[in-house]
């Protein structure tokens, strides 16, 4: 809903180009800052669009922030935001967004992921879409990493639908309204495409050439993937059951409860009818444990429902695209 004040008299019907705000979060992993900056800047100048660069440097990465300061002193126009400590990439993106003035936001990693020369392609494919995400393709990676990636994304597809094949790639471009509506925290920035899809934004994935400089021998520890799986579970829960927690907890709870009740009943009946002493049946404890656990899960679900109900008036479940009349 941009109201242009200056009437355009030129017959060319080209809309004024929107500014692109590029946010680069600098956290644990970063390559030569100056080199990356120049590569990105050169690639973005080719698009012919106005753009601004925003660097968000996290806590303990003095070296990076010193280099950026030096760049600034040589006359480069960039915004530098420093966090007092490390809050995580999602928070970095968020605080960069607060300082962004452009209608279009682009996030880029502080390390080599996608060949910078491919960035104009990303910018041009935004078109009508609300978000365009990149997939590094053709991809070179170690066999072990490829296997992990494939397993991870097949789970993502199962849960959230086929919208993205490279969640690890943080080269993304999207409209301002995406971050205005989605609250990013923790490690959720990785799942931004999924969350945006849930909000009803139009998303497109394009293939971009992988940067030849990407450190390919890098292998992730098992813990990294474990954390990602936990995040994925969170996202899945938030997407599917935010408004109906008891449907999730109720199902799990009643299965466990039914199993427990079945076992207990069977043992109690065999005790009363056939005199089988309960002290000989450790299964009895399992049965009662299941009953207890089932009811606890149910109770947790009810707490969830009460929380939702008390806030239901504040949370709008729908997003309106347009109102006519």
């Amino acid at each position: 809903m941009n109201v242009s004040v200056i009437p355009q008299e030129v017959s060319e019907k080209e809309t004024p180009l929107e500014t692109i705000s590029v946010i680069v979060p600098v956290t644990e992993r970063y390559d030569d800052v100056g080199e990356m900056y120049r590569e990105y800047k050169e690639a973005l100048s080719q698009t012919g669009r106005p753009f601004e660069m925003i660097y968000v440097v996290e806590g303990h990465f003095e070296k990076a922030s010193l280099e950026l300061k030096a760049l600034k002193e040589t006359g480069e126009k960039l915004t530098l935001i420093k966090h007092s400590r490390t809050f995580g990439e999602a928070t970095a993106i968020h605080s960069g967004f607060l300082h962004a003035s452009g209608e279009i936001i682009m996030t880029l990693p502080a390390f080599h992921q996608v060949d910078a020369a491919e960035l104009p392609k990303l910018v041009h494919s935004l078109g009508d879409n609300d978000m365009v995400i990149a997939r590094r393709w053709p991809r070179e990676d170690s066999g072990w990493n490829r296997l992990q990636t494939r397993v991870f994304h097949s789970i993502v597809r199962r849960m959230a639908g086929n919208i993205c094949n490279d969640l690890g790639c943080s080269v993304r471009i999207f409209r301002r309204k995406v971050l205005e509506e989605i609250n990013l925290y923790g490690d959720l920035h990785r799942f931004l495409p999924i969350l945006s899809h849930k909000q009803g934004f139009r998303i497109k994935e394009i293939d971009l050439r992988q940067s030849p400089k990407e450190n390919r021998v890098r292998t992730y520890e098992f813990g990294t993937y474990l954390r990602r799986m936990i995040d994925l579970l969170t996202v899945f829960f938030l997407i599917k059951f935010t408004k109906k927690p008891l449907r999730f907890f109720g199902l799990t709870g009643s299965v466990v409860l039914a199993a427990g009740a079945g076992i207990t009943l069977y043992l109690v009946v065999s005790r009363l009818a056939f005199g089988v002493a309960l002290s000989d049946r450790p299964l009895f404890l399992v049965g009662i444990l299941f009953v207890v656990l089932g009811l606890q899960i149910f109770a947790i679900g009810l707490i969830g429902e009460i929380i939702i109900f008390t806030h239901a008036k504040d949370i709008k479940e729908y997003t309106v695209a347009q109102i006519i009349n």
Binding site: R247, S279, L302, K313, K316, N325
Partner: protein, 318 residues
């Protein structure tokens, strides 16, 4: 979500809210039927079409109509969200004193609307339609519906014949104060009548589906039961959640004590404690304490949240 409170709208007497999902053939005839039914009444009214992320030409056709008829407003969702959010959006944006909701598939007959208005003017807060001659498939639609309505009636104690009928009329202030999310639209009559509003029922016409396909499945029963459990709990204990959990806690405390007693009773006779039974009893005691703690937690949530919707509702009605 742009509202125009500053514009000098004449607040209409009536808002008709219709959620639409892939109903391109129905839009035109529906609009015609509504206008045909309401124009003779000579009252100010508005129509709200809520396009629930349709993939076909529904939105285009609806906006063409809206260009010609300024009483018609079209709200377009960014994607498909479901019937309750669509109705909630319509209710949020409606300006009328009385709200009518109905299906967009032409199975409800707009000619019934005047009867609903009469019922509201008689002093009812909510009027529910009852499709007494329902034109749907027996196995997949009618039987699950009869079962669901029976369960809802038994549990809530409000014998609404047909909770699933979308054709309903509400006093705007009542419906706007009810939290509407998930699939809750089905339970509005039950919720509000338990809160003390007066609910009336009306037999309505129901015609077989002319265009498109039905968007319901049989898997609703599980959802209905869970939602019902939630509503029952929320309503019964909305002001004092502690009661529910404390009752459960006492129950299990009794059960635990009883089991422990059994274990100890045997021990006096035989000289050895039945460990299984004793541990079982202790587990029940743990559950009892857990439930009491959950109850306390709910009290806390209750204090901080806006849980008083139903209490306010009672006040406005009395």
């Amino acid at each position: 979500m742009v509202q125009h409170p500053s514009e000098s709208w004449i607040n209409p007497d009536l808002s008709v809210i219709v959620p639409l999902y892939n109903e391109e053939e129905s839009v035109g005839p529906l609009h015609e039927a509504i206008v045909g039914a309401l124009d003779p009444l000579g009252m100010e009214y508005e129509i709200l079409f809520v396009d629930d992320g349709s993939k076909d030409a529904t939105f285009r056709k609806a906006s063409e109509l809206a260009r010609r008829d300024r009483r018609l407003r079209v709200i377009k969702f960014r994607r498909n969200y479901g019937q309750t959010p669509a109705m909630a959006a319509g209710i949020d944006h409606a300006r009328g004193r009385i709200l009518i909701t109905m299906d967009g598939d032409l199975q409800n007959d707009p000619a019934d609307i005047p009867k609903f208005l009469d019922k509201i003017n008689e002093g009812n807060d909510i009027v529910c339609g009852w499709r007494h001659k329902r034109q749907d498939k027996l196995i997949t639609r009618k039987i699950p519906s009869v079962i669901a309505n029976w369960i809802i009636g038994r549990i809530t104690g409000v014998p609404i014949k047909d909770n699933g009928c979308s054709l309903k009329a509400y006093r705007a202030d009542i419906i706007k104060s009810i939290p509407l999310y998930s699939d809750m639209h089905r339970f509005i009559p039950a919720m509000t009548s338990m809160a003390g509003t007066s609910v009336a029922q009306l037999k309505v016409n129901h015609s077989p589906r002319r265009f498109g396909v039905s968007k319901y499945g049989i898997s609703r029963i599980y959802k209905v039961i869970i939602d019902l459990l939630v509503i029952k709990t929320l309503l019964a204990f909305s002001s004092r959640p502690m009661h529910l959990f404390a009752t459960g806690g006492l129950l299990f405390m009794g059960l635990g004590m009883f089991t422990l007693f059994l274990a100890l009773k045997d021990s006096f006779r035989q000289g050895s404690v039945d460990f299984m039974l004793a541990s079982g009893g202790l587990l029940f005691l743990i559950l009892a304490f857990f439930l009491v703690l959950v109850g306390l937690l709910c009290e806390l949530i209750n204090k901080t949240g806006s849980f008083r919707a139903f209490e306010r509702l009672k006040e406005t009605v009395e």
